[in-house]
Structure formats: C-alpha cells, structure tokens
C-alpha cells in the first residue's frame, strides 16, 4: 500500500492520541478515577497503531493488552472515550460498566479483549472462520505479545488458520519481555516469526518502532488475506519503556532493568522518530506538531468531562439483563 501525506499524518495523529490517552490513564489510576490496574503502552504504540489505522471498519481486531488496547482501538477508529469510561467503571462505557478493563465494540470489529492471555488465538480463528464464511473480504488482525506467543493455543489456532486458509494476520508485538521474563529465555530462536514456518505461513520481521514499516507489512499481509491467500505472521520488534504494570517493579528475572537499558530503549521512541522524519520531509510543520498535541490534550479534557459526568452503574438488575440473551 502506498501512503500519501494524509495517511502519514493520520498515523502520526493516532500515535500522539494514543500516548495522550496512555498518560491520562496513568494519571487517573493514581487519582483513583481509573479502576483496577493499568499496563502502559508507552514505547510500544507503533504496532497497534500501524497495524490498524488502514483497516476497513468491518475488519476484525483482537487488541494486545498494552494500554489495554488503546493503540489498536484508536487506530481502528473507535472513540476511546467509551473505553476509558468503562475502565473508570462508568455506566456509559462499552460494557455498561460491567467490563472493567475488558473491551468490546462490535460495530468496529472489536468483539472483546481477554484477561487470560492467549485466548485471543482460538477466538481469532473463529472470527476468521466467520469472516471467510461472510465472503466479503473481511480480515482479522490478531495482536499479541512475545510472551503470549508461548501459549499452546497459538499452535492450535495457527494450524487451523493455515489448514482452512483463514483470512487472519497474526501481529506479534515483541518488546523483548513478558512481565519479568526476557523473551530469549522463553523462545529458543531469535525471531518469533519462525513460529509461522511450521504452519507454512509467510512471515516478516519489521522494526516495530517504525510505524510506517509496521503499516506497510501488516497491510501487505491484509491484502493477501483479503484475496483468499490465507494467514500470515508479522513480528514487530518493539519496546516497553516502563515497568509491566503501574506499581510493579521493573525487573527481569528478579534483577532491575538498569536506567541505561531504559535510556537506550527510549532513544527509539516511535513518536519522536516519526515526528523527526515527518518534519524533515516537510509533511508536518512545527505548527502542525503543536496543533496535533493541543488537539490531543483537548480530546483528553473532553473525555475526562464525559467520564466525570457519567454515572456509575448501580442497579443489580443489569446483571440479569447481561447474563443471558432473550
């Protein structure tokens, strides 16, 4: 896919919005507005944003857990307001205040996130099967972490997808670590993309800090899937700039990640890299950059207002209504 100026700007705006929402989530968790826990996306936004921004509205996504899926939702065109409201426990959230950090928005091809990592794989096979039956060229893009790829469910779903030629793109967001576990101790080869070859799936390894590279690779795989050529696998080498979750220690095998380790990762901030390149190419001016930042701030303010004005759910009858369909 060729990306024009508008496309590049869209990618940039989505990255900036993602970062702004991520920061807001961290702040709101600290003040008690955001409930439960939060796992920031910072440093790993490009795979989600790059992999979703050019999808069709009816394409299906399975968001990865970081930022509880904000990069993917924002790229997919979902208004993050109602996700944030849900995460804050409000009745105006996607799940009427029953979902917590879980999320679904069917109209945007987002049928839900899970708390048990790796359940995304078989579910994606199901979405792929339905998409194939629909026969309208819908594609499923399943995002997951390096650690999540260690689940056995990956193999069952990958095999099924390959045998049935399901229209699925598996996008691995390899940030080198799963909570406290470095990936080199959890997978024996350098590239997780090797997992695809056992099932005869084409694969590619891309720089996951380069949002355009991600978008190009994923969209090429999406076109293949749309044309009936079956599943493929994209591995994005990305980063996690802070601890796994807010309040967690930032350790690998019980030893602190050093400030030098983190500084090195931060040198390749996907937003800074892209901004520099867009300014150099003249796609954006410094004024544009300023305006985009301000618009993101305004969107956060508006979201906060929406959340503050939204009621908490308070009727247990909601549970009955939600348990079984008519």
């Amino acid at each position: 896919m060729e990306f024009g100026k508008e496309d590049l700007i869209k990618l940039y705006v989505n990255l900036v919005r993602t970062r702004a929402f991520d920061r807001a989530a961290i702040k709101w968790l600290a003040t008690g507005k955001l409930l439960s826990f939060y796992h920031p996306a910072e440093g790993g936004e490009a795979p989600g944003v790059g992999g979703t921004t050019f999808l069709r509205k009816d394409d299906v996504i399975s968001p990865h857990l970081r930022g509880h899926g904000l990069p993917h939702m924002i790229g997919k065109g979902v208004d993050p307001k109602r996700y944030m409201a849900e995460h804050c426990g409000k009745a105006t959230g996607f799940g009427n205040g029953l979902g917590g950090f879980h999320s679904a928005m069917d109209e945007f091809g987002m049928f839900g996130g899970t708390g048990t990592l790796g359940s995304c794989f078989p579910l994606s096979a199901g979405w792929g099967l339905a998409a194939k039956k629909n026969g309208t060229g819908q594609v499923v893009v399943c995002f997951f972490g390096d650690g999540t790829s260690n689940r056995g469910t990956w193999h069952e779903a990958a095999n099924m997808a390959a045998v049935w030629k399901l229209p699925i793109v598996w996008v691995c967001e390899n940030n080198g670590v799963a909570q406290y576990m470095p990936i080199q101790d959890a997978y024996p080869l350098e590239d997780l993309a090797n997992m695809a070859s056992a099932y005869g799936m084409p694969s590619a390894v891309v720089d996951g800090q380069d949002v355009v590279a991600v978008a190009e690779a994923v969209m090429a795989a999406v076109e293949m899937a749309r044309n009936g050529d079956g599943p493929s696998f994209i591995e994005c080498k990305t980063a996690r700039f802070s601890a796994h979750g807010i309040g967690n220690p930032d350790k690998l095998h019980g030893k602190d990640r050093t400030t030098e380790d983190i500084a090195k990762l931060r040198e390749r901030d996907p937003i800074v890299l892209f901004r520099t390149s867009l300014l150099e190419k003249g796609v954006l001016t410094p004024d544009d950059v300023e305006r985009i930042d301000q618009e993101a701030v305004a969107e956060i303010d508006e979201t906060e207002k929406f959340i503050d004005e939204s009621p908490f759910p308070d009727d247990p009858a909601l549970l009955d209504a939600a348990l079984y369909a008519e």
Binding site: S36, G97, T116, A178, A186, K251, G254, L319
Partner: protein, 321 residues
C-alpha cells in the same frame, strides 16, 4: 512472638522446604521476581534451576509438575492467578487428580499447585475467582485455603511434604495481613479446622478472606448473638467433626464462602451438615457466597461478591425461629 505478613509466611515456607528437601523446586511465570511477593528473593538463595521462570504456558507448567512428580521430584507449580488454572484443567483435574487411582494406586504425585484467589479488586472474571469448587469436584486433589500467616506457612509446608497433588490457594486480600509466626519449625496438619471464636447461638463457617466478614459481623452482633466462627482451613480433607460438634451446640449455621454459590463448597457443606445433623438444626442453613453471575469488572462486583452486611443479615435470618 514475631509477626510476619501472610505473603512473607508463604515465602518462608517455600525457603524452608527448599532447604529441607532437594527434590523440591518451583516453576512459574515471573517467580524469580514474584508477582505477589510470595516467591521474591528465593532465586538468590536457591538459584534459577530450582526457582524456574517459565514461558507463559500454563498447560505445560502444570503438566510438567505432574510429570516430574511421577519421577520422584516435588514440584511446586505457581499458576499466579487461580483463574489461569482453567487453562490447565486437563493437567490438574484429570491428570494430577485422577492418575494415581487409574494406575491402581501404585504411584505418588507429590506436586503442589499454588495460586491466588479472590476478588474485591474490580478486575473482572478472569482475575477474581475462587474456583475451588471445580477442584473439590474432582476427587484426588487436596484443597488448602489458609486465612492467617501462621496457617499459610504451616499448611504450605504440609502441602509440599504431602505425597499427593495439593492445591494451595492464597487470597489476594490477605497478602499484607500480619500475624504471629513462630521462628521454629512447625507444620499445620490437613483436615483440622480452627475454631476462631467460640459461641453458642450460631455456627459461622467461613473460608479464607471471608473470615474477615464473619469476624466483623460477630463483632457487630456481639451483644445480641453469641457466634462461633470456624475456619475449615482445608476443604479436602474436611474436618466435618469439628463443624458438627459446633452445629450440635448451636443448631444454626451460616456458611460464608467467596466461590460462586451454585455447586460450590457452601452447598456441599450444607448438605453434609444436613445429612449428619438434620434433627440438630433449629433453622434452615444459610449460604453467603458469590452470586450466580460471572464476576463483573468495575464497581458492579459489589453486587456479586459477598459483602459484610450480607453476613450480618444471614446470621439474623438463621436466628429467626
């Protein structure tokens, strides 16, 4: 006596059993760091070959524990959240639980599955459950749910020394709770309930974190109702005798348990009490459990998970003649 946090008591039990028996080893996700502090620091003492960080592979973690136990090791599989044990249901419920009988009782499977249980953190269905009814439903597993630092340490040591698969479930809400733990070596036997408070009007059997609600209710009602509180400590084996002795004295029973009500431990216990002591009862038994819904995320969990006032109400209800 010295006081420790519940999570430290668990940590200390691991350290002592690792020290005592070289066949003991731990495996699980991030255990060298320790997501809940229960295994933190052990790697420094016992090394990465005995404190093994694993890939995110619950099926293989649980299955490997079963396999290694059949060859004479004493593995502890740390499953992190008990909700994740569903992922290894075959390995835990069919393999660990049922293997020995199917080989005619010729083998031993000395493995322990450790995980946290419990809600009240607004985390939703996949990080909040107390799924021990499914474990109790599969004979062959022992099920341990300590409520104090003392019991956590003593029961975990017994679990590791037991020659059968044991499920050891610690409650998230209890992790920072302090309590007396002696310096010297001790164990707490399975199948011995703890009478936490003596009373004559009502028997309240409560498990794990729910003991807090039970004790709060007993404090609140202390001028009107004399409440006996019993912590079974292990659900299998279950000390039904201690419970029945209490029931014969009080004639009234409330069971407080955080697992989902339907087909849960509370229903099982109520039936066992009724079968043994129907004519000793002065009122129908009341259960206070999680309501029969998935545990929602966010604040709606308060309509599903047992609340302190539900316990108070249940006690008042059984007092009505």
């Amino acid at each position: 006596m010295r006081e420790l946090m519940y999570l430290q008591a668990i940590n200390e039990a691991f350290a002592e059993e690792l020290e005592r028996d070289e066949k003991v080893f731990l495996m699980g996700e991030g255990i060298q760091t320790g997501t809940f502090g229960t295994t933190t620091g052990l790697v420094d003492r016992f090394g990465p070959d005995r404190i093994m960080d694993t890939p995110i592979s619950e099926t293989a973690i649980a299955g490997a524990a079963v396999g290694a136990s059949l060859m004479g090791y004493r593995p502890v599989a740390d499953m992190m959240f008990s909700d994740f044990m569903y992922i290894a249901a075959d390995e835990i419920l069919l393999k660990a639980a049922q293997w020995r009988l199917l080989q005619g009782g010729t083998q031993q499977l000395p493995c322990v599955f450790v995980a946290n249980i419990g809600g009240y953190r607004k985390l939703g269905n996949e990080h909040s459950q107390c799924p021990y009814s499914m474990m109790l439903h599969n004979p062959g597993l022992k099920v341990v749910i300590p409520s104090t630092p003392y019991d956590a340490k003593g029961l975990l040591k017994t679990a590791i020394r037991d020659n059968n698969p044991v499920i050891f479930l610690y409650h998230k809400g209890l992790l920072p709770v302090m309590g007396e733990v002696p310096e010297e070596d001790y164990t707490v036997p399975f199948g011995v309930a703890d009478i936490r408070r003596e009373g004559t009007d009502v028997t309240v059997v409560a498990t794990s974190f729910q003991l807090f609600w039970a004790e709060a209710a007993a404090d609140m009602l202390k001028d009107e109702i004399s409440i006996e509180i019993i912590d079974p400590r292990t659900l299998e084996p279950l000390d039904i005798d201690t419970i029945m002795t209490s029931v014969r004295k009080t004639g009234r029973v409330v069971i407080v348990d955080e697992d989902t009500e339907r087909c849960g431990f509370a229903g099982e216990l109520a039936t066992q009490i009724m079968e043994r002591g129907f004519y000793d009862l002065d009122a129908p038994i009341k259960r206070v459990c999680a309501k029969n819904y998935p545990i929602p995320g966010g604040i709606m969990e308060k309509f599903v998970l047992p609340q302190p006032e539900w316990v108070v109400q249940a006690i008042k209800d059984v007092m009505v003649d």
